[in-house]
Symmetry: C2
Subunit: 254 residues, 2 copies
């Protein structure tokens, strides 16, 4: 019960938030109970579900610095529950540095709620700092989105190095949930080259489902809706539903 | 002489590195003496110019922790000189936290070389941590790339808040050099909506030059070349040459 999956890659703009929001929504549509945790100070995953934290309201920041329980900050949205972020969580990166067990804050904070869900999906910021380390320490597995572009390949060895370091010192059981190719444009050679390279690097771990570049995926956040609610017929929506199905099927085999 | 310009935006994947590399190369082609400093542990700007730091070679990391002078780490590439990065610079974020004048490390490191150049262009990682704070403290101005997508607008108030904080406590004279719209796709309503929003927010500061989405810009890094060397006729190359021209013209008026 309650599997925690980190969506992580320190390369910016590769589709972490788009995957966290739309995989969560698609799993919710498939009758799974899902909590989406937003660990990014940009709070894009929160607004992707139409959730904004006003001053005085609880966010992941208050949860990480032990000023609130996770349950107090969680919002229901229908398809998934959200533990939202707020820009003030940038402060946690510095405030936690000198604290004891600073990497375990998220793991401890989620321990009281995780049993109520089938999946807890955690969106990470584009860095390998304390917020991402907290997530990799709390997670059972990590799903790695890879944009089909050259620079996205370059950062992989750094990410894998960090995952190995976490497995050695903070979370022995951390596994790779899967590798997702995003923003694939079938008209471009570059997309196929990067896809081939990722498959030769990760083999089986690469999902059969590939997310195409699709304008509906970049439009839906401005309406605060996952793509399945914004335009269910779109290629973007269909690809994330297909991913959710493959993700669920893989649960029995990992 | 020697104006230091930070290329910053904590939102990931908005075109910081692509702008740092191709603006530097275009300024070099216009006979300006340019130093490109790579402050990102991903070291994308370095590899965008075909520069890789091997073990034992100096990078921005050794310069920031006072183990090397900037002059020792700088490489010549023809169009621009490069002070390259290496993934080990991630360590500086933690190592510098407890040091005195931790935000001034880059400013002090560049003071010895800045006079040899017309422009020093600094590529930032996608975060507002110590590496970006060092850059904003050292910089005369900051150039803000904005991807023409919804999430890219959301992070602007955080970025402006950080710039204001730096202006108040670390660098009184920091100015906004300009705002650059990137990955503009004229077929998408979203691109025009975001462009209109940015212009109403920043007014004059928005460059007339808009960078179109152009596959040559995402292909050239895999050859370790700026686009002006990879495909000088491409829309990508022409738009960065046009930006360089507008950037130079604006110097007299800022
Ligand atoms: N398959 C897709 N097709 C078209 N646009 C996409 C797709 N996936 C993501 N986008 C858009 O690309 C941009 C980057 O995606 P997103 O913000 O999800 O990446 P990220 O990795 O979360 O970024 P960050 O590193 O800043 O957290 C966003 O504007 C998003 O709307
Ligand atoms: N105008 C453009 N047209 C097409 N592709 C582009 C354009 N600008 C950038 N790209 C590609 O988009 C991706 C993101 O750009 P880039 O890496 O420059 O952004 P960044 O802001 O530096 O990212 P990070 O936040 O990770 O540092 C890269 O793969 C790059 O090659
Ligand atoms: Mg994100
Ligand atoms: Mg970059």
């Amino acid at each position: 019960m309650g599997k925690i999956v980190a969506i992580a890659n320190q390369k910016g703009g590769v589709g972490k938030t788009t995957t966290a929001v739309n995989l969560s929504a698609s799993l919710g549509a498939a009758e799974k109970r899902v909590l989406l945790v937003d660990m990014d100070p940009q709070a894009n995953a929160s607004s992707g579900f139409g959730v904004r934290v006003e001053d005085g309201e609880k966010s992941i920041y208050e949860v990480l610095i032990d000023e609130a329980d996770a349950a107090e900050a969680i919002r229901e949205t229908g398809l998934a529950d959200i533990l939202p972020s707020h820009p003030r969580v940038i402060g946690a990166e510095i405030e936690l540095v000198s604290q004891i067990a600073r990497e375990m804050k998220l793991k401890n904070a989620l321990s009281g709620v995780v049993k109520q869900y089938d999946f807890v999906i955690v969106d990470c910021p584009p860095s390998l700092g304390l917020l991402t380390l907290n997530t990799l320490t709390a997670a059972d597995s990590v799903l790695i989105p890879i944009q089909c572009e050259y620079y996205a390949l370059e950062g992989l060895s750094q990410l894998l190095g960090t995952i190995r370091m976490v497995q050695k010192h903070l979370n022995l059981d951390l596994r790779i949930e899967g590798v997702l190719l995003t923003m694939f444009d079938k008209r471009l050679n570059l997309s196929s080259q990067v896809a081939d390279e990722a498959i030769s690097y990760f083999g089986e771990k690469v999902y059969d489902t590939i997310i195409p570049r699709n304008v509906r995926l970049s439009e839906c956040p401005s309406f605060g809706q996952p793509v399945i609610l914004y335009d269910v017929q779109s290629a973007g929506s269909r690809s994330y539903m297909k991913l959710a199905k493959e993700f669920i099927e893989k649960q029995d085999s990992i």
